[in-house]
Amino acid sequence: MQANKFRIIGLVLVAGLLAFTWLRIGLSKSTEIRQPIRFNHKKHVQGGLECSGCHQTVKDQATAGRPETSLCMTCHEASVTKNPEENLIREYAQRHEEIPWQRVIKLPDHVFFSHRRHVSTEKLDCTSCHEAIGQSSEPPSRPIKFSMDSCLACHQKMKASVDCVACHK
């Protein structure tokens, strides 16, 4: 009787452990982001390119925007490196396609955020919110989260609005 009980408990534990690992693998796969081209921010920024040169609407719209393939082509018409990733740009350009970049940062639908408000009128540096990305040589492989606390911490420090409906639409 006693032995049976232990066997059942053991079985339940093993099953639980299996389910847990399976879920973990499944979850991490589903949140992984694979960009179509392994874009290297560091090399481009060190080359002297302004953030707003590629994210062109950042100063006058809510969204920062992603560069069009034609913009990449102004420099990558011919090879500048031996990196095979570079050829992918020309392949997209030949097919007259935009590169299907994945979103790395995405606030929930119920939050209002405007780059213009922060970048053009408050002259905040991109690095005050996007610390690492300009210095990374690989696109982020996981979504980047912005917590409400991180917004509020700066708003409190800079005496900006902490009214719920300023951010929640």
């Binding site: 929930p108 119920h110 209002f112 213009r116 053009s120 409906v165 929640h168 639409k169």
Partner: protein, 234 residues
């Protein structure tokens, strides 16, 4: 700090419903089905309430457009157990959908029936999806919503005037209903500014507020020659 308010001239209102349509499109309010309407579950942040007076053969129909009245002493916020509805520094009654737990106390507490519960998840025809307003979120099932005086328009206006380096003027921020009203029966502006159009209108002897005796201090002021006359003292 401005105090946003609205004036509605009932003697000019023709009951045409243009404000209702403008509001629904502006704020991503889903169409209701006949079944939902039957159950009283139609969402309409501004509603034209018809009031029948007199008897056949001389009935008189009056119309009362009713948005959220943005009370200065809102009964709804007192009953919210989770701070999902509150009065903000500019006097607007905010509604934070992500915070709302759907208890509907506020819906019951509002004497003007201005609050609406989402009994089902909103749906739109596929063709209609591109028409949705990205500045306003789609509310999920199980939360309460109401008129916000098109607060997202205020956010945009503030950003615009900041970029242009000037002060906010009354014309910069107008809710969709006021902008649309073909009869020119609606006015909007800062009630704390003695020179604004709305403040001037509230001085009219025709001015009154709905259910004044409740002490809710609504910031929507009505004008009429009719029998409501004279209830607004300030």
């Amino acid at each position: 700090m401005p105090k946003w308010g609205m004036v509605i001239d009932l003697d000019k209102c023709t009951g045409c419903q243009a404000c209702v349509v403008a509001c629904k499109t502006e704020n991503n309010i889903p169409f209701s089905t006949p079944e939902q309407a039957e159950m009283g579950r139609t969402i309409s942040w501004i509603e034209i309430i018809p009031i029948m007076e007199g008897e056949y053969p001389r009935p008189k129909l009056r119309y009362l457009p009713r948005p959220c009245l943005q009370c200065d002493h809102p009964p709804c916020i007192k009953v919210c157990p989770v701070y999902a509805t509150y009065r903000n520094p500019e006097g607007l009654v905010g509604q934070v959908y992500s915070r709302c737990i759907g208890c509907r106390y506020c819906t019951a507490a509002c004497p003007y029936t201005a609050k609406y519960f989402n009994w089902s998840a909103p749906t739109w025809a596929k063709e209609f999806e591109p028409c949705l307003n990205p500045d306003v979120s789609k509310r999920p099932k199980g939360v309460v919503e109401k008129c916000t005086f098109c607060h997202h328009r205020l956010q945009k206006a503030k950003e615009k005037v900041k970029a242009e380096g000037r002060e906010l003027k009354d014309e910069d921020y107008v809710p969709a209903c006021v902008q649309t009203c073909p009869a020119g029966a609606m006015y909007f502006g800062d009630l704390d500014n003695p020179n604004s159009k709305v403040t001037q209108q509230t001085k009219s002897p025709r001015a009154f507020r709905l259910l004044e005796e409740l002490g809710t201090e609504p910031k929507v002021i009505y004008l009429t020659e009719g029998e409501w006359h004279g209830a607004y003292r300030k």
